[in-house]
C-alpha cells in the first residue's frame, strides 16, 4: 500500500501542529466558536448530539494491520472502546474530548493517517471498490489513481471553499461495488484494445434530490485524469449555486444546465489548463503504482480446506455467504460482517479491530479493506487458511454469515448520534436483523439490500436500497418512509416511494410484510427480491404494505394536514 513520502509526513505534522494551536486558542478564549468551527471541521471534528465526533479518513478504504491497531488504541485510550465504520469507508469515533483530539491526530500520523477533508465543502475521501486488486473480473486495480486523486485534491488551493462537499468514487470493475453512479464524480477504469481510460460519470448523488449520474466522457485516457477532474470541479465551482445548500451540489448544476452544456464548459476549461499539467503526474503515478503491486501470492495445498468445507455445515455456510471469487483461484476475498444480529451496523470494538489486524498480518498479506456497506474485507486469504481464519473470527463474534442477506443492513448513525438526523436508524436496523434471525428466514430470503437513513441527507443510501427506509420527524414523532426497487450497482436506480410512512413500532412489521409477499410471489427460489420487483413492479408490494389502501391514503392526508 501507499506509504507517505517525507513531504506527506511534513504536511500532516504541520497541519496537526496548527490544529493543536487552534484548539489551545479556542480553550483559552482567543477564538470564538464561529472562528473555530470551520477550523475543526477542516480536521474532521464535528460536534454531535452527545459529544464531539472525529471522522478519520481511510483513503479508498485500504488499511494495514498497524493502522487498524492504532484505531483500536485510539478507541481504548481516548474513546469508549469502539469505532464506527461509515458508508464512505471512514471511521468515526463518537466520544473524543476536545483537548484530546490533537493527541489523537498525532497518533494517527504515526501510522500515516489523518482526518483532513473528512468534512467541509471540499473534495472528500476518495472511495473505491473494496475488492480492488482482488476481484476476479477486475480490469485493473483503481487504487493508484485513487491515491493520485487524493494527493491532487488534498489542500488543493482552488477547492477549499466549494459550493458544497464533493465526493469521488472509483472502480476498475464492470460490477460496480463503489456506487459510482451516486457520486458527484464516478470513475470506471476501462481497458480498450490495450489502452486504459476512464468512463467519467458526473452529477450523481443521493440526499434531498437523488439523481443517477450521467456519462460526461466515455473513454478519457488515464494520463488526462487530473486535468479533466480539475476542469469538472472548476466549472462547478464557478457555476454551482451558493444561494441554497440543497441546490449547491453538482447534480443540480448538471440537472439545471444539462450534461451537454456542462461537457462543453468542461472541455473549454480542460483546454485552458491541460498544458499546466506538465507530466509530473504520470511520473508520480508510476511511483504510486509500485506501492500497490499485488502481494506475492503463496501456493499451498487446499485439501484441508475442501475437507472442512464438505464436513462442517456451519463453516460451509460462512464460506458460501462471506467469501467471493478471487483473481487467484486458490485465494478467496473474505468479508467480515460487522452486522451481528442485534448489533450496530458498522461498529467494531477495539478487541475486534486487534483480532482483525492479527489475522490480516498472519493470513491476508497485511491488507484490510473497509466497504461502503460497513463491513471489513480481507482481500487476499489463501483457501488453506480459511478454516483457521474462521475459527479466529468466531472467538470475537465476527463470524456472522450474512453478507448480502437481509441483516447486512447499511444504517447511518441517525438520531442516536447525528445532529442533523430527524429520526433514529440504528434501532430499526437492529430490530429488522433480530426479527429475521428469529424467523430463521434470512437464507430463505436470499440476496437483498436494506439501507436506512435517519434524514434526507441519505448517508445510509436508502434511495439505492432494494428496500430503503428514511426516518423523518412528522409532527414531533419518528416516521419511516419506505422506497422499493433501488439499485446501488452498475444498473443503478433510485427506488420508488411506496406510500405513507410508518411509525417506529410499525416499520419492522411493514418490512416483514414486504418480505413475506416476496416469498409468496417469487417465481422460484433463485429469483432474488430485486428480480421479482423488476418482473412485477411495485404494485404487489404496495398491496402487502397497505392492505387497505383507502385507509392508508386517509392516514397520509391526515399527516399532510397536520
Amino acid at each position: 500500500m501507499y506509504i507517505y513520502t517525507e513531504f506527506d509526513d511534513a504536511f500532516i505534522k504541520a497541519r496537526n501542529s496548527q490544529f493543536r494551536n487552534q484548539v489551545k486558542r479556542r480553550v483559552d478564549g482567543n477564538l470564538t466558536e464561529d472562528e473555530f468551527k470551520p477550523l475543526r471541521l477542516m480536521n474532521g471534528l464535528y460536534l454531535q448530539l452527545h459529544a464531539y465526533m472525529l471522522r478519520v479518513a481511510i483513503p479508498y478504504g485500504t488499511l494495514n494491520s498497524s493502522q487498524m491497531e492504532k484505531l483500536a488504541l485510539i478507541a481504548d485510550r481516548w474513546d469508549k472502546g469502539y469505532g464506527h465504520f461509515t458508508t464512505r469507508q471512514n471511521i468515526q469515533f463518537n466520544w473524543p474530548k476536545l483537548n484530546d483530539v490533537p493527541d489523537i491526530l498525532d497518533a494517527l500520523a504515526e501510522v500515516k493517517m489523518h482526518a483532513i477533508q473528512t468534512s467541509g465543502n471540499t473534495i472528500r475521501n476518495v472511495t473505491a471498490d473494496h475488492f480492488s486488486g482482488a476481484a476476479a473480473e477486475e480490469s485493473l486495480d483503481p487504487r493508484p489513481y485513487a491515491e493520485l486523486i487524493r494527493q491532487w485534491s488534498t489542500d488543493h488551493p482552488e477547492f477549499q471553499f466549494l459550493p458544497r462537499k464533493f465526493k469521488v468514487a472509483i472502480t476498475g470493475s464492470k460490477n460496480d461495488r463503489a456506487v459510482i453512479r451516486a457520486h458527484d464524480i464516478g470513475l470506471r477504469l476501462l481497458r480498450r484494445k490495450e489502452k486504459l481510460g476512464f468512463e467519467i460519470i458526473v452529477g450523481g448523488g443521493l440526499g434531498r434530490t437523488p439523481m443517477i449520474g450521467k456519462v460526461i466522457h466515455e473513454f478519457l485516457p488515464v494520463s488526462d485524469i487530473l486535468p479533466y477532474l480539475e476542469a469538472v470541479v472548476s466549472v462547478w465551482n464557478t457555476l454551482g449555486r451558493r444561494d441554497n445548500k440543497y441546490k449547491a451540489r453538482i447534480k443540480i448544476t448538471v440537472h439545471e444546465h444539462g450534461v451537454k452544456f456542462i461537457k462543453q464548459l468542461v472541455q473549454k476549461r480542460y483546454n485552458e489548463i491541460r498544458s499546466t499539467f506538465t507530466g509530473v503526474d504520470p511520473n508520480l503515478l508510476t511511483q504510486i503504482e509500485s506501492a500497490f503491486a499485488p502481494p506475492i501470492f503463496k501456493s499451498a495445498d487446499t485439501t484441508g480446506f475442501k475437507c472442512t468445507y464438505e464436513n462442517d455445515a456451519i463453516f460451509r455456510s460462512w464460506v458460501d455467504t462471506n467469501t467471493q471469487k478471487h483473481k487467484e483461484s486458490d485465494y478467496a476475498i473474505t468479508s467480515i460482517s460487522l452486522k451481528t444480529h442485534g448489533k450496530t451496523p458498522g461498529d467494531a470494538s477495539s478487541e475486534q479491530m486487534r483480532l482483525i489486524a492479527d489475522i490480516a498480518r498472519l493470513y491476508a498479506h497485511d491488507e484490510i479493506r473497509i466497504s461502503h456497506e460497513q463491513n471489513i474485507i480481507l482481500p487476499h486469504v489463501h483457501k488453506s487458511d480459511l478454516p483457521r481464519v474462521y475459527d479466529l473470527l468466531r472467538t470475537k463474534n465476527l463470524n456472522t454469515a450474512n453478507i448480502g442477506l437481509i441483516s447486512d443492513i447499511i444504517a447511518c448513525p441517525g438520531m442516536d448520534y447525528c445532529a442533523l438526523a430527524t429520526a433514529r436508524s440504528i434501532p430499526i436496523a437492529q430490530e429488522i436483523s433480530m426479527r429475521f434471525d428469529d424467523l430463521k428466514l434470512e437464507h430463505e430470503v436470499g440476496h437483498i439490500q436494506i439501507k436506512i437513513s435517519g434524514c434526507i441527507n441519505a448517508c445510509g443510501h436508502h434511495h439505492v436500497g432494494h428496500i430503503g427506509i428514511l426516518g423523518l420527524d412528522r409532527a414531533g414523532v419518528e416516521n419511516y418512509q419506505i422506497t422499493l426497487g433501488g439499485d446501488a450497482t452498475e444498473t443503478a436506480k433510485i427506488g420508488e416511494r411506496a406510500g405513507p410512512g410508518f411509525s417506529a413500532e410499525q416499520i419492522v412489521p411493514a418490512v416483514e410484510r414486504i418480505i413475506l409477499a416476496y416469498l409468496d410471489i417469487r417465481m422460484n427460489k433463485s429469483e432474488s427480491f430485486i428480480e421479482t420487483f423488476h418482473r412485477l413492479g411495485i404494485a404487489p408490494f404496495k398491496k402487502a404494505l397497505y392492505p387497505n389502501l383507502k385507509q392508508s391514503l386517509k392516514i397520509e392526508n391526515q399527516g399532510k394536514a397536520a
Binding site: 480553550v27 478564549g29 448530539l49 459529544a51 466520544w95 442516536d416 420527524d473 414531533g476
Partner: protein, 99 residues
C-alpha cells in the same frame, strides 16, 4: 408549578467534553435536566440566552427547548431532546450511564 405551553429550558454542549448541559437557576451549566431552570417568560428566556451565548469559554450551541413540567419532573417535549437527555439507544453511554 403546573404545565404550560411556554415552559422552556436552556441547553448547550460543553466546550471541552461536548456533553449535553443545561442552565440552572444560578446561571451555571449542569449535567442534569432535573437541575435546570424552567423559564416561563419569553422575555426572561431571551435575556438568558443572550447571557448564555456570552459564555463561549464554557459551552457551544446555546438554544432553548420546550419541556413539560409535571410534579416537578422536567420532560423535553421533542424526542430529539429526550434522546439528548438520555444517550444513544445502542449503548449505555451518555447521560443514562451517569445515573
Amino acid at each position: 408549578m403546573s404545565n404550560t405551553q411556554s415552559n422552556k429550558v436552556i441547553t448547550a454542549n460543553h466546550l471541552l467534553i461536548g456533553n449535553v448541559v443545561y442552565l440552572n437557576s444560578q446561571f451555571d451549566w449542569v449535567n442534569s435536566l432535573s437541575d435546570a431552570k424552567v423559564f416561563t417568560n419569553e422575555t426572561s428566556i431571551e435575556e438568558a440566552i443572550i447571557n448564555a451565548n456570552s459564555q463561549q469559554h464554557e459551552v457551544v450551541g446555546v438554544y432553548s427547548i420546550n419541556i413539560d413540567l409535571l410534579n416537578e419532573t422536567i420532560t423535553p417535549k421533542h424526542f430529539r431532546e429526550q434522546f439528548r437527555n438520555k444517550g444513544p439507544s445502542n449503548y449505555n453511554h451518555g447521560k443514562q450511564s451517569e445515573v
